[in-house]
Symmetry: C2
Amino acid sequence: MGVVIPLEENKNKQASVKPLVDLTKSGMQRVNQLILSKAGSDVEMIPEVANHLISSGGKRLRPMLTLAAAELCGYVGENHIRLAAAVEFMHTATLLHDDVVDESAMRRGKSTARMIWGNQASVLVGDFLLGQAFKMMVEAGSMDALDVLATAATVIAEGEVMQLSAAKNMETTEDDYLAVIRAKTAALFAAAAEVGPIVAGESKAVRNALKSYGMNLGLAFQLVDDVLDYGGTTAELGKNTGDDFREGKITLPVILAYRRGSAEERAFWKRAIEEGQSSDENLAIALGLIKKYGSLADTITRARHYGTIARDALAPLPDTPLKDALLEVIDFCIERVS
Amino acid sequence: MGVVIPLEENKNKQASVKPLVDLTKSGMQRVNQLILSKAGSDVEMIPEVANHLISSGGKRLRPMLTLAAAELCGYVGENHIRLAAAVEFMHTATLLHDDVVDESAMRRGKSTARMIWGNQASVLVGDFLLGQAFKMMVEAGSMDALDVLATAATVIAEGEVMQLSAAKNMETTEDDYLAVIRAKTAALFAAAAEVGPIVAGESKAVRNALKSYGMNLGLAFQLVDDVLDYGGTTAELGKNTGDDFREGKITLPVILAYRRGSAEERAFWKRAIEEGQSSDENLAIALGLIKKYGSLADTITRARHYGTIARDALAPLPDTPLKDALLEVIDFCIERVS
């Protein structure tokens, strides 16, 4: 089960991303300008499709990690801006391709690009943004940063294919699932944080500290996301919940409920996930089973475990407001579920 | 109409790609090994999908250009091998995504990956190969080569979106069409050739010579491809022809026939291309119109025009067997139509 350390004991204040937002504000303004300019093209459809997603109110957590990690290491210059924008483009390209792969209709409360401009434009504009991301990395001029981000691009794609191969297979283990989210989500968090110290010319030890912070933050983030898809700890479905169930996606709440369930309950999960019997009635049954076996609470416990690793990864670094802000983001990512 | 210089006058020998194949043979063996090893992954589906296309008997013209261009400039080392493999992966990734975008069922006489493993796997394995391509560029260690290839990746995607925007629009001009093929096809030929002198540390003048050679060879190559899709100069359809017509793709043979046609004939083209009335009967009518207006012969004339530019681009370089082989490839690309 892993050792569980409650991060929020003796703390009344709600953790927030605001300190990180405030401390990276001036850098993020430059990142946002760069993002808008590099999403431009004489081919009209490209900025249309790109800006639909870019302006849809994502938190831009990943580029903020890059800026914070670089500035934490005392970096002054422009290259972390370029790398942060590149990281966000990699993320945006992934989302465009993901929505095609998952046949998703909605993202962040808006129609997906593929519903408006079609799968074709989503695939190609994703490719365009990936190309632009690599051009910005070249402009940043660090071969090490390029290596880290190119590797992340490969690993993300591997994670997505792994997820595809595991899709609708109820025998997926927690370890299989962890390998998927480590690759498809956490690898980009890790790379985003690692390129900060790289551009600042920091030691391998500091690089590894921030990489480990990013990796484990990413795991916690994705685990909590998967809990939120089942309505959070209240396990009550809102309008943006239940998507994973309807898409037959196997996440940890489902894996735990399945493995802890009776033979009869396991047969239900197989019908629901493997055979696609994902009616609202079945979603209600699924939610009942998830509650019965405490799968959401235990998934959050797992998230806290990774959150603690992320916190410890930063321990050797000097205490500064930026470090505090990065630590608070761990709690924020976990607390947003409650 | 452009100046037309018949390249093949006073020449009986059929131009061939064989001298280039022979001169790059030992390098291409290393490229092919690297391709196989970098298409590997613990995620089983990735090498399956990748090797389906990789082993499907493409000519590997683009990586041969990289090797030839580097060796022409006296390069000895391993980095041109890495860049050549990266170029081929970029090409393979593009084909995987293209087949999804075009909803193609067949490529090189085999079922496309999307017909066997689905659109999802094709999109994601394409992304994986693109990531691997950038990793190999990083290993090659040249920021200039990375810049050229990252730019090409962006331009290719722009060209594909341009083509999508122009799709099924019979008012597409020859200039529009040229802009599309310059971006989606010729840009990668140009980049493949340009990274050779870059890795060899050559002057800007030599870089530009090989880039121009690649660009214009790419244009000629695509023009001839578009002629071949209508059965070549005989304008008789074989089993692999007529695909562009059925997909409503607007290529130069169609543009010329449309613009030179009567009002009635233009109405036919609009029904066939814009409204998708692409029955075999209509394909036969289309072919009749293409013959009537000499569209195939004139498209080949255009290809010769670009072939001549490619030839002149290499003129300042010293005469060597490799240069001769590169020049013969121009003729080969054009002659394969007759």
